[in-house]
């Protein structure tokens, strides 16, 4: 199995396990699922680097987007704590 194939299969397995485990635990916060997916994305792509430069460029751009989403989730959580409101 080549490195790109291994990367894709690892990511699919990790996402499947995460979704099953969190739903089995009765978790209903979507932001938690998304945060865990984003962290797993960074770990798996880092473990399989270096990839082909063209692939790496696309994955880096996608990673910036995911990181922005992660930061928004964190910022909203901090605001929730500070203001005592339910935002997510």
């Amino acid at each position: 199995m080549s490195i790109p194939e291994r990367c894709l299969v690892s990511l699919a397995i990790v996402y499947m396990l995460t979704t099953s485990a969190l739903s089995a635990l009765g978790e209903s916060r979507l932001d938690l699922y998304i945060s865990v997916y984003i962290l797993e994305y960074f770990v798996i792509t880092l473990l399989h680097s270096p990839l082909n430069p063209r692939t790496q460029r696309v994955l880096n751009v996608f990673g910036y987007g995911l990181f922005a989403v992660f930061m928004i989730i964190v910022a909203l959580k901090v605001l929730e704590i500070l203001l005592g409101l339910r935002l997510l």
Binding site: L11, A12, T19, E27, T45, P50, N52, P53, R54, L59
Partner: protein, 249 residues
């Protein structure tokens, strides 16, 4: 390319299915696990589309034919001239442009170590003596430097990083690369190399294509000539032993 199309089709399918599943689960079914499943499918789709870009434009079989034919030609020249000396891999600062390999025409106990940059010719004079003549040839490793973008640093970690980037990332020729430096000896361990070893004349002079890539990249990183001292295969690893020819001041 079949593989590229497969990745693109898989990526498009997963992205579309993921978007539809997350949208319908969130707004119609109001199910968080299903929405999360849709989002994870969407991420997998994008990753699959990105991986499709890594597939080569020409098939590996066509590339192998081109490599084989060029190596056969170089082998024929070297065999015809009866050259038995080991090639010296020179960095680009010692040639006219890209890293190249110098094969001395005469057997000499001291490997050539040119003091001035060599001209861009096939037969070059590298020293003051009449017998200091050699063949300056382009090897598979010569073109590798253009794939690196910038010149790698000279520390073992920098060399390892540059080799990993080329051998495992860009070219997908092996699973990992490990570099150990002790004095003038550099040992490079390449795990699960995908280029097969053959017993042809040119390999005795230049080393295998994998060793040639490793030697060229190392010579360029150090800015000093390098020879492939030894090369062997054990337990799924190709071990390449290089010797650095330090410049005398």
């Amino acid at each position: 390319m079949k593989d590229k199309t497969s990745y693109t089709l898989l990526g498009s399918g997963l992205t579309f299915a993921g978007a539809m599943l997350s949208y319908s689960s969130h707004f119609i079914l109001r199910s968080t696990p299903l929405t999360a499943l849709g989002i994870s499918t969407l991420i997998l789709g994008v990753v699959s589309l990105a991986l499709g870009r890594s597939q080569p434009k020409i098939s590996p079989e066509a590339t192998a034919i081109l490599l084989e034919s060029s190596l056969e030609n170089v082998s024929a020249i070297i065999e015809e001239l009866g050259l038995k000396s080991k090639a010296v891999y020179l960095p680009s600062s010692m040639t006219s442009g890209q890293p190249q390999a110098l094969i001395p025409l005469h057997l000499n106990p001291n490997p050539p170590n040119p003091k001035t940059p060599l001209p861009k010719r096939l037969v070059v004079k590298y020293g003051p003596n009449p017998e200091d003549l050699g063949l300056l040839i382009t090897t598979p490793g010569s073109t590798v430097m253009s794939m690196l973008g910038s010149k790698p640093g000279s520390s073992p970690a920098d060399i390892e990083s540059a080799l990993s980037s080329v051998v495992t990332g860009t070219m997908d020729l092996a699973d990992s690369v490990k570099v150990t430096v002790s004095g003038e000896r550099i040992v490079v361990e390449v795990s699960n190399p995908r280029l097969e070893q053959r017993d042809i004349w040119v390999y005795k002079c230049l080393g295998s294509p994998l060793a040639s890539i490793v030697a060229s990249a190392t010579a360029e990183a150090l800015g000093e000539p390098v020879i492939i001292d030894n090369e062997w295969y054990e337990k799924g690893k190709s071990i390449i032993e290089l010797k650095v020819l330090r410049q005398e001041l």
